[in-house]
């Protein structure tokens, strides 16, 4: 009987932890309205060439995983982009609005599935990106404050915004 006592401990623990879904904070339409309130948008089919991907990786400093960009043209100028970055285990889905002048208009975290680090949804932290252009360093502890305890998410979102600014420069602004 002793075997049951020892080994059922993990079984009980496992059973008690059956919970936990990721959080989908907003859909595309909600993110669009949060960043560009009241603006009409038109979906744009953007397929990157291999040369564009290389240039994006050069400017962004990180890998461009997909050759497709989920982008919307904003009425009156500007772009709205939905993208993903790696979280610790899952992807973090986020949206970036870029003004007609090429600066960040705003960012929103749309889906966050990780155990820790959802402090990146904090409005003050996200506000640091507003006004950044492709010439900004966009690096933790330089022009973007790290969130202690959410370092991986902070860094990957910062890298992601830098990469989307490169996408805008390479593939969107001239369209």
């Amino acid at each position: 009987m002793k075997a049951n006592v020892f080994l059922l401990t993990p079984a009980a623990l496992l059973g008690s932890a059956v919970a936990g879904h990721g959080v989908n904070y907003m859909n595309v339409a909600q993110a669009q309205q949060a960043i560009f309130p009241g603006k009409a948008m038109t979906a744009a089919e953007v397929k990157l060439t291999s040369e564009q991907r290389k240039e994006i990786e050069r400017q962004g400093g990180i890998r461009q995983r997909s050759d497709t960009v989920k982008a919307w043209r904003v009425a009156g100028g500007g772009w709205f982009i939905v993208d993903e970055v790696l979280g610790k285990h899952e992807f973090i889905t986020f949206a970036v609005g870029i003004s007609a002048d090429g600066s960040v208009h705003g960012i929103e975290i749309m889906e966050y599935l990780e155990t820790y680090g959802d402090e990146v949804r904090n409005a003050k932290w996200r506000a640091q990106f507003t006004g950044k252009t492709k010439s900004a360093p966009l690096q933790l502890d330089k022009d973007i404050r790290n969130i202690s305890g959410a370092t991986l998410s902070s860094r990957h979102i910062t890298d992601g915004v830098r990469r989307l600014l490169a996408i805008h420069d390479v593939a969107l602004k001239s369209r």
Binding site: A3, L8, T9
Partner: protein
């Protein structure tokens, strides 16, 4: 043994729904440099099977339950309790037995100096101290008090999907008798592992770990044994829990007064299997 297998199956089956999600220990024996965020708690359950001596049948099961807490974003502490089930028959040098024993208790602190996510390389210091009441070879009585400081290095590559971890440490133990011949013992130990996140939530890799022991802290005239294990590891992590399954084979070992030239069995085994399950709160 059937009961044990059944209970493990039950434990594993309870964690299979795809609605679950989590955090990490990529390897069975090698530690990473990350620490829990402040105010968060992890609960771990380790199950380790050590089996395969040079002759006879030997099964050493270790069941360790650990609770870990992030005191700050850089410092975490944990306490753990370990129990054992030892079964051996016709193993040279050991009496035939089949019994449960209370293994001991331990407390661990880990302080992160550098983060692998923003400092280029991760660096942490880990200090474990504990009391072992019955030894892990055949569950014999001892009153072993030990401390084990370890330096942990971690380097991430490819957007943090490829992770390499290196541990180097020592262990200083007093009270190994009467389970062992000597009262005190020094050990050098460590390991290296590399793991790649090949799919969402899934990582796989290899690790190796070693341990060398010198009774009476005498590094020059009292060598006891050295052992090196290596093997694959697979890791799943969701939002609320994670699991790591690891197998290690004794690739090299040598000990005093042992017949085998390339493996040591007095305190070690040919195979080690480890399942770790962790829950995040």
């Amino acid at each position: 043994m059937k009961k044990i297998a059944l209970n493990i199956l039950l434990a594993v089956s309870l964690c299979t729904p795809d609605s679950l999600h989590a955090d990490e220990n990529l390897f069975g024996f090698v530690y990473g440099a990350e620490t829990l965020p402040a105010g968060h708690t992890d609960v771990y359950q380790f199950m380790t099977l050590r089996t395969g001596k040079d002759a006879g049948g030997y099964y050493g099961w270790d069941f360790e339950t650990e609770v870990e807490y992030g005191f700050t974003d850089r410092f975490q502490g944990s306490i753990s309790i370990e129990n054992r089930y030892i079964r051996n028959k016709n193993v040279p040098g050991l009496d035939d037995t089949s019994h449960f024993t209370f293994g001991g208790v331990a407390a661990t602190g880990k302080y992160r100096i550098l983060s692998p996510f923003k400092d280029g390389i991760g660096l942490a210091l880990r200090l474990e101290g504990g009391f072992v009441y019955h030894d892990e070879v055949d569950g014999l009585l001892e009153h072993d008090v030990y401390i084990a400081p370890t330096v942990i290095l971690q380097k991430n590559f490819l957007d943090d999907t490829l992770v390499a971890e290196l541990n180097l440490g020592t262990e200083w133990a007093w009270g190994k008798d009467p389970a062992e011949q000597y009262y005190k013992e020094f050990a050098a130990q460590g390991g290296f592992g590399i793991s790649y996140r090949f799919a969402r939530n899934w990582s796989a890799g290899v690790e190796t770990h070693f341990r060398a022991e010198w009774p009476m802290f005498n590094l020059f005239h009292n060598f006891e044994h050295v052992v090196v294990y290596a093997g694959p590891t697979v890791h799943y992590a969701g939002k609320k829990w994670w699991a790591t399954l690891n197998y290690d084979y004794q690739v090299y070992g040598t000990g005093v007064d042992e017949i085998s030239a390339h493996q040591t069995f007095a305190e070690e085994t040919r195979h080690v299997f480890r399942l770790k399950v962790g829950f995040n709160f």
